[in-house]
């Protein structure tokens, strides 16, 4: 069996990437509010996931103001799928 992905083991990070599987791209502030974390916590997770090549962060304009958009990369999407599959297998193995 493949191992759990170390980049996705923290529950907050798993929640973040799982939420991103539902959209093509999300605004940073919307993601922060949904996750109920601070800007700095979300930035830290995004930086780590960005280094792993799992998320893409780009600057854009929304409602006439500069904003940040976050999306999963193809590698990230595959990694989330694999990680969840391993998690499910582990959960199923517990008597």
């Amino acid at each position: 069996m493949t191992d759990l992905d170390p980049h996705l083991q923290a529950p907050a990070r798993l929640k973040l990437v799982t939420m991103l599987t539902a959209v093509s791209e999300a605004e940073f502030a919307v993601l922060r509010d949904r996750l109920e974390v601070s800007d700095s916590v979300l930035s830290k997770h995004l930086a780590a996931l960005g280094e792993a090549g799992y998320v893409r962060v780009r600057k854009g304009v929304h409602l006439g103001r500069r904003t940040t958009w976050v999306s999963l990369t193809t590698t990230g999407r595959t990694a989330v799928g694999d990680h969840v599959a391993v998690l499910r297998a582990l959960i199923a193995d517990v008597p």
């Binding site: 929640k15 799982t18 539902a22 093509s24």
Partner: protein
């Protein structure tokens, strides 16, 4: 992580994702706007293909431009309202790549053309409206499916695929106009 906390973390993550998908809404008046634009586009395309007058071609072009403008506005409003971009919404709901929407538009164009050839213009109008309604129903079905399985239905066709499809549709239309 241990299996108990693994299960809790996964459940929590999936609940958060599902709640987010449930909170995604269509902009106010979306159905009327997109359904109306499709109905007008079907009617003007039929007119452009069957009426032998310069204004008919302008009507055809106007219908296409109107649809493009309405589509762009709906995409902008959806993003503004929800703070997210969802590929499935853009392709399946707005650009009608869902099977029901594609079929509805295709059938209404063919049926509208057949009615126009017989100069049954009231029927052309009726068929165009029916096409718009079916397009809207298809969009609503996508939203329902997306809320049930966001990870599966969130993704739509790529921008390249959409551009190719639109390009082919316009090229086909130009050929039909030239063959009049």
């Amino acid at each position: 992580m241990e299996s108990g906390s693994d299960a809790d973390a996964l459940r929590d993550a999936e609940r958060a994702r599902d709640a987010w998908a449930q909170a995604v809404v269509l902009p106010r008046g979306h159905d009327v706007a997109i359904g109306g634009a499709v109905a007008v586009q079907v009617a003007t395309t039929v007119i452009g293909l069957t009426v032998d007058a310069p204004w008919a071609l302008w009507a055809l072009a106007g219908g296409l431009v109107l649809f493009g403008v309405v589509a762009a506005i709906q995409l902008w409003r959806f993003t503004r309202l929800n703070g997210v971009r969802v590929g499935g919404f853009a392709s399946r709901v707005v650009f009608g790549t869902a099977a029901t929407a594609s079929l509805a538009e295709g059938v209404s164009l063919v049926a509208g053309y057949a009615a126009a050839v017989r100069e049954l213009w009231w029927l052309v109008a009726l068929i165009s409206v029916a096409g718009g309604v079916a397009y809207v129903v298809s969009g609503r079905r996508w939203l329902h499916a997306y809320r049930q399985e966001p990870a599966r239905f969130g993704a739509g066709e790529s921008a390249l695929w959409l551009a190719l499809a639109v390009g082919l549709a316009v090229a086909g239309l130009v050929l039909l106009v030239l063959q009049r």
